[in-house]
Each structure stands twice: as C-alpha cells, then as structure tokens.
C-alpha cells in the first residue's frame, strides 16, 4: 500500500515545494484569523465594533453571503440529480466543495458571532418555532450534514483511500444514494435560504427590512432562495474560472459552463423582476403605511439611492440579460463580467438586508447609525476565505474534482 500515489492518476500537479509554499502563505492568513477568533472567544464581543444599534454587522453579512454563494451546491444538485441535467455532473463535485466550505464557514462564523458560544446549542434545545433563526439553525446544520455526506465519496476517491475495499464499496453505495441526499439537500436549502431571507423580512419593527407576507413567509423568504439559486451557480463558475487561472489549465468544458450560465441567467432575470416588483410594492405601499418615503431610507451619504440602482440594474438586470443571450455567454469577457456582477449583486443584497437595516434611523430625532468593523472582525471574516482556499487546494491536488480534466489536459 505504501507507494500508492496520493495524487489522482492521469493528472499533473505542481511540485511539493511549490504547493507547500502556497499552503504556508494561506495558512498564515488562516492563523491570523484563528488568533482573532480566539481573542473574541476569550475576551468577548467587545473585541468588535458592533454596538447596541448595530447588533448584526459584518459577520451576519458574511454569513448570509457565503450561504447565498454556496447556493450553487444545492441548485446544481437539483439540476443534476432531479432535473436530470447530466452535463452538470462535471461540475457537481466542485459545487459540493464550494457549498461545504461556505456552510462550514457559516456555522463557524455563527459560533463566533454569539455572545455565549458555550450556550449556542440552546437554539436547538430551547427552540422557538416562531423564530426564523431557529429555522435557519436547524436547516443549516442539517444541510451541512448533507453536504458532508455528499463530500465524503469524493474524498474516498483519493487513489490511496480508494484502494481499500471497504471504502471503495462505501463510495460506490454512497454514489448510489446520492440523488436522495441531493433531494434532501435541495429541500433543506430551499427552506434555510428562505428563512435567512425571513430573518430580516419578518422584522416588522424595521420598516426598511419588513416585507408583506405570503402565508407565514415574508416575500424576502422567496427572494432569498431565488437569488441564491440564481447567483450561487455564478459563484461556482467564478470558482472554476479562478482555479483554471491559477492552475493554468482548462478544467471544465465550455458547454458545461455555458449551460450553467444560461440557467443562471434565466434565474437572475426572473428573480430581479420579482425583486423589482417587491421593491415597488414596499416603496409605494408598505413603507408609506408606516410614514416613510422611499428616500427616507436612502438619505445618508453611504446609503444613498445609488445602492438600489447598483443592486437591481447593474448587478441584476445587466448580468441577467448578458447570460440569457447566447452572444453574452459565448464572449468570455462578457460572461465573466456578468458572473462577477451577479456575485456582487447577491452579496450587496445581503449587505443591504443586514447592515442598512441597522443603519436606518427610526426616530426623526435619531441620526443614521454608523459602524466600522474592528480588525478582529475583518480577520475572522477573512479566515473562511483562507480556509476555503486550503480546502480547494487540497481537494484539487488530491481528489478527482474535475472529471473532464484528464480529457482536457492529456499527459503526453
């Protein structure tokens, strides 16, 4: 067994030294983040610059964003296993890894973000069924378990592990049941993406966030799921593109990417139309009924009406329109611009639905609330990025992540 290669057969990987160098650099960043994380656990949340007005800040944004971006996993799974877009099997591994990273990061951030991490489990034990956050916690944890299960067979495909008969069988069987997990994941994802949207949307004390309801769910519930499904795949595409740039290799065939981009484009367009309708209803019906005009919400230098334009037009309609046109998808520059805009758009949406909600003054005698994160908050927010790079690097190096890699990069 000794001497079995660690690296999958038929592919080229960089030298050990080079890899070690890269890993050391990323690990340094990781250690910085871990240090900040321990500071926060040890000394408490006074290490942040959050305050009683800004109770939710950078982290909750990061959380919502990574989960939205990790949405590529559930939506690709949905398309591959349920809708039957077989082509997408070529990126599903990568999508699952991205999802795994995003969701594990989200869980980690949550344990940093709470004032009493050792009591974090009360959210399960003393669960309040009315709370969107309870729904988030349950779905998030379950879906993370599902992603882990989805990730395991891939890990087991490492050549050295795959040699072990037991593990080999396990992999095989797991692959067999994967559609069931994928379906479970899709269901869970649909709910927790939605409940994350609900987190802000149910705040009837915050007219900036509050949205009218459909049954028990505010509109943001659906919009969040929709936008995650729409923009998550863009993040997967972005990840693939970056990996290709860094490895200087083609890893996925263009038609696969284009298919994903096309689906994403239609999702974005439909989403942004719904979002526009929602915004109009909110601006002209919901807000005025509480004494606010639209411009009351955009009267600060930071939070001005330009944000709404950027979110809806520049990062919504524009990438959507690019991606639904063949020309747009086939032009590499346009394609990647659209992908980046879409990723920015969904992140901006999460930013607005977390930070701007806190910033808007509710009393005419209050001013806009401002907030600037501390280095500890920034470091712990960058931590998942470093962690993600490490996981992707390891996975790429040791696991057969891209089924088309061999074909696209024949070793002579």
């Amino acid at each position: 067994m000794n001497g079995m290669p660690l690296i999958p057969a038929g592919v080229n990987r960089c030298s050990k030294r080079r890899f070690a160098f890269w890993m050391a650099a990323v690990t340094a960043v990781l250690v910085w983040g871990v240090y900040a994380m321990f500071l926060i656990w040890y000394k408490g949340l006074n290490q942040t610059r959050m305050n009683d007005a800004y109770g939710f800040a950078l982290w909750i944004w990061a959380d919502l964003s990574v989960i939205a971006l990790g949405g590529g996993a559930f939506f690709s799974g949905f398309l591959t296993y349920i809708v039957g877009k077989d082509k997408l099997a070529n990126i599903i591994n990568f999508a699952v890894i991205i999802g795994f990273i995003c969701y594990s990061s989200a869980l980690l951030i949550l344990t940093i973000d709470i004032g009493q991490p050792l009591r974090g489990w009360f959210i399960f034990w003393h669960a309040n069924v009315h709370s969107m956050l309870t729904e988030v916690a349950f779905c998030l944890s379950c879906y993370f378990a599902v992603l882990t299960i989805e990730f395991i067979p891939l890990i087991l495909e490492n050549p050295r592990l795959a040699k072990k008969p037991f593990l080999n069988h396990l992999t095989h069987n797991m692959h067999g049941v994967m559609p069931i997990f994928a379906a479970t994941g899709v269901f869970l994802s649909f709910f927790h993406q939605g409940s994350l949207g609900g987190v802000a949307g149910v705040l009837y004390g915050r007219p900036f966030a509050y949205r009218e309801h459909v049954f028990i769910w505010p509109w943001t519930f659906f919009l969040f799921t929709w936008s995650a499904a729409a923009c998550g795949p863009c993040f997967t595409i972005l990840g693939i593109w970056l990996t290709e740039k860094i490895t200087r290799k083609k890893l996925v065939k263009q038609d696969v990417i284009r298919l994903l981009a096309k689906i994403s484009g239609w999702m974005i367009i439909t989403y942004i139309i719904a979002k526009t309708a929602d915004t109009l209803y909110w601006a002209f019906v919901t807000a005025p009924s509480r004494g606010f005009t639209l411009m009351d919400f955009y009267s600060s230098p930071t939070y001005n009406i330009g944000l709404l334009f950027i979110e809806i037009v520049l990062c919504g309609f524009v990438p959507g329109l690019i991606l639904i046109t063949r020309k747009g998808r086939e032009n590499a520059f346009l394609l990647m611009s659209a992908v980046i805009l879409a990723v920015m758009g969904v992140s901006l949406n999460r930013w607005v639905m977390v930070l701007q909600v806190m910033a808007v003054p509710l009393f005419s005698f209050d001013d806009w609330f401002t907030y600037m994160p501390s280095w500890q908050e920034v470091a712990t927010t960058i931590l998942p990025v470093a962690y993600g790079l490490i996981v992707i690097s390891l996975a790429y190096r040791y696991l057969p992540v891209f089924p088309q890699e061999q074909e696209l990069n024949p070793i002579d």
């Binding site: 408490g44 007005a53 109770g55 709470i114 004032g115 009493q116 991490p117 009591r119 709370s131 009393f363």
Partner: protein
C-alpha cells in the same frame, strides 16, 4: 400550548409618561440602575454600548434661537403587545431560544439572562433600541458589590438585557398579597410600582394596569394628548406618552408630509 391571552380581561401593565412634566433630571435612569443592578464602566459616553433600561432622549423643535424648544422623552422598554395584541412583540417572536417571552398574566416581556445566548436578533428586531447587550463582563469596583440588590440577578457578558417593568417587584407584591390572603384580589396601584416611576421627582411617570379601571393609567391613556412611539409599525406598545405639543408628537412617529399625528387612527 400557551393559553390565548385575553386582551381585554387580563392584567396589562403599562405606563403613561407625561412629557410636559418631564424635566430631564435623569432620576428615573439612576433609580433604575440602582434597583436593577445595572452595570457601569469608567467611560459611558458611547451611548450605543451604555446599558440603560430607560434612556431619556432630548428632542428639540429645530427652530433657531430664541424660538428653540426642547422636550425630554424617557424611553423604557415599550412592553409591546405585538401585532394583533397576541404577545408576538417584535423581539419575542424572533428569539430563537425563547430567552425572552411575553407573560400572559401581566403583558410584560421578560428576559432570561441564563437562557440568552447572545445572538442579538431581538436587538435587531426592536425598533426602540430598548435592548442592551453586555459587551463586557460587568465590574463593580471597590466595595460597590455590596450595594447590589438580591432581587435582580447581575448579568454576565454576552447576553441581552432590558427593562423588565421591575418584574421582581410584581413578584414581591404577589407574594405579599398571598401572605396577606389577598391573592384573589387584583393588586392595588401602590402594591406594585416600578422603580423609575417611584424615583421620578415630578410625577411624570404613572404606572399601573391599563385594564384596571381603578388604576390611573386606565383613564390617562385615553387622553386626546396620548400617543405611543412608532405606533404605526404595529408594535402596540404599553407605554403611552402625553403631550400638548404637536411638534413632540410628530417626532414620536413617522409621518408623510400631508399626514397629521392623531388623525390617522381610523386608517389602521
């Protein structure tokens, strides 16, 4: 299952705060600190990390000298009844761990420090900034621990706290009533008073059961000068304010330019 709260018949403790009487002296804040073991730090000038269960805001009419007017507005927790008066106050409905709850007997929104795990979702939900987070571990210098009241437990860092309408006083009053064999009678106004109402030297704060005709608040809340803060959000606060000044009233909620405070009631 929780029993349905009978909005009309049950006790609903509330306050009426007469803004035209408030001098901004701050005695209510200090009375509350002492009563409820509220912590303090060497620097309390960042009001966004300073724990106050009741904060006295200073409003002004925005006019130049010498037409300027100011008005002080004390703001405790509004003990919101929530939309449709079901006790789903903005904060209670969001707390994932039921660390804050609506008491159907009194209408008081509780806070359980040992249950709270500090997610701060309730703070994001409360439009009145009534909820305060313990960013630090509290420190009582020198012998100051000796002045802590045993009726209210000191909080640890990482949890949220807020005005409780001095709920411990309610419990003490109930106990007393029980020992005096009055448990079946409603509590009198004097049996249960909050520390801030008691501390207020000008009698600005009136406290009692809004549903009890024998309590002053029952009548006071119906004054044409009465209003509630951010009423239009549908939070249904149990803290009412009185003022004869329209500019003050206007600042108590949000209005479009063509809307007039006090004339919107029928609309909602």
């Amino acid at each position: 299952m929780k029993e349905k709260h009978d909005y009309e018949r049950a006790r609903r403790y509330g306050m009426v705060i007469d803004l035209d009487k408030c001098t901004g002296c701050g005695a209510c804040m200090v009375g509350c600190y002492m009563e409820n073991n509220v912590p303090f730090k060497p620097d309390e000038t960042n009001k966004l990390d300073s724990i106050n269960w009741i904060r006295v805001y200073k409003l002004n009419n925005g006019k130049p000298y010498p037409e300027t007017e100011i008005c002080y507005l004390p703001m405790p927790c509004m003990q919101c009844d929530g939309v449709d008066l079901h006790g789903h106050s903005p904060c209670v409905s969001v707390c994932p761990a039921v660390a804050t709850d609506y008491d159907d007997d009194t209408g008081i929104v509780s806070q359980i420090y040992t249950r709270c795990f500090g997610c701060r979702y309730c703070m994001a939900a409360c439009p009145y900034h009534a909820r305060k987070f313990n960013w630090w571990d509290p420190v009582w210098p020198a012998d100051m621990k000796k002045a802590l009241s045993p009726d209210v437990s000191p909080r640890m860092r990482g949890v949220v706290e807020k005005c409780s309408f001095c709920f411990h006083r309610y419990q003490l009053a109930r106990n007393k009533a029980y020992f005096e064999n009055r448990q079946n009678e409603p509590l009198g106004e004097d049996d249960y008073q909050t520390a801030c109402a008691q501390a207020c030297p000008t009698g600005t704060i009136t406290f009692g059961d809004l549903n009890n005709k024998a309590h002053a608040v029952h009548q006071l809340k119906t004054s044409p000068n009465a209003f509630r803060l951010l009423e239009r959000l549908g939070t249904n606060p149990k803290v009412y304010y009185l003022t004869a000044k329209n500019w003050v009233r206007r600042q108590g909620d949000n209005y479009l330019t063509d809307e007039e405070p006090g004339k919107l009631k029928q609309k909602r």
